[in-house]
Symmetry: C2
Subunit: 217 residues, 2 copies
């Protein structure tokens, strides 16, 4: 009985995600869902990307948090197309929340829409939001063992981005260990090492973004 | 109907937690439940505390992870009393999992039992495990806004520990902002700033541990 309920919830989310995906396709907007632990730098990555691209393409942002508008306030300085979702305690976004949020966004005008998921490496993994691509953002200061400890997040993603590489010199983070553990789970996955502080690695990140937008058009 | 189910689950957990708490009291073991985001340093805090106290008191550890024995392998070097719980996907420990785990521990011989919860600042908050004290461990590299973004974690805790203060000089972490936001939520709460790397702040941490053990006997 309990399993039935859970299956229904998951099926409902899948159906809603497909409706979102169709809407995104019709409006030719590329949607990227960003997952990470708290403090890995999702908001920083979005802000630095907005700075780079704001004169070239139109970017919207959906901010997911359990409470507060702390991150969307920061993002408002760089785009008007930002919507905050407060889950009120739920540890992930779902496709219905996204369906409501996009009613408030000028989808037709957007080239790219970032969804910043709730800071959590477990719960958001099972919830398709209708996105084109999913990113797992890890960071040097969290340690090199995150793929071992949160394998599903690294398995079900289209890109692994590793932030805060400017901190490598102060840490015992083993890049080979991290990379090999990610590749064990997800052999074909692309890993981009970058720093939102120094913009190291941003050229590769910008190319990745441009490529998925091109593929979406 | 849905709410009924959730209430039953929470009530069941509360009842199980009380059974655990009674067992801990009977065996005179002080139990500390550590919550944090992935990579904040729960395992490091436990290992450094084991190093300091291993000749003075008996410490056991319950390691909670969604999968792997990565952390308990590290801890085995410092205590034989370690049990791994793999939740298989569940984003928090619950009191029943703890009840099973303590069957494998020599409770009578232990003075202190650390429970390292699953790395997550949201889901574990609502689940009493029968502990004497709960700690939320934050870290400088996660940023100073964690109390704003995950308020319930900082509200329902007996201590806030801030790890990685050796990284303060490389970061824009604002200690006043962090402290004031924690105190807004939880005015009487004690905050201990420390570094598991340099052992800065460990004197205060050791005193706190000794005090709760004394209060428990």
């Amino acid at each position: 009985m309990k399993i039935d309920v859970i299956e229904n919830v998951m099926q409902y989310n899948k159906d809603e995600a497909e409706i979102n995906r169709k809407k995104f396709r019709e409006n030719k907007v590329t949607v990227v869902n960003i997952l990470s632990a708290p403090g890995a730098g999702k908001t920083s990555l979005i802000i630095e990307t907005l700075k780079v691209f704001m004169d070239k393409i139109n970017i919207g942002v959906i901010e997911g948090d359990i409470s507060s508008t702390h991150d969307s306030e920061k993002i408002k300085a760089f785009t008007n197309s930002v919507v905050q979702i407060n889950t009120g305690g739920t540890c992930h976004l779902n496709a219905s929340m996204i369906a409501k949020a996009i009613e408030k966004l000028p989808l037709k005008e957007l080239d790219l829409l970032f969804i910043e998921n709730v800071g959590n490496l477990i719960c958001p993994v099972g919830f398709d939001l209708g996105e084109k691509a999913r990113i797992v953002l890890s960071s040097v200061s969290e340690g090199d063992d995150k793929p071992v400890k949160y394998p599903k997040a690294f398995l079900k993603t289209d890109l692994v981005a590793l932030n805060k590489i400017d901190m490598l010199k102060y840490s015992d983070f083993n890049m080979n260990f991290f990379t090999s553990k990610v590749k064990e789970l997800n052999p074909g996955i692309k890993i981009i090492a970058l720093s939102c502080k120094t913009r190291e690695g941003f050229k590769v990140w910008e190319e990745w973004i441009f490529d998925i937008i091109k593929n979406c058009k």
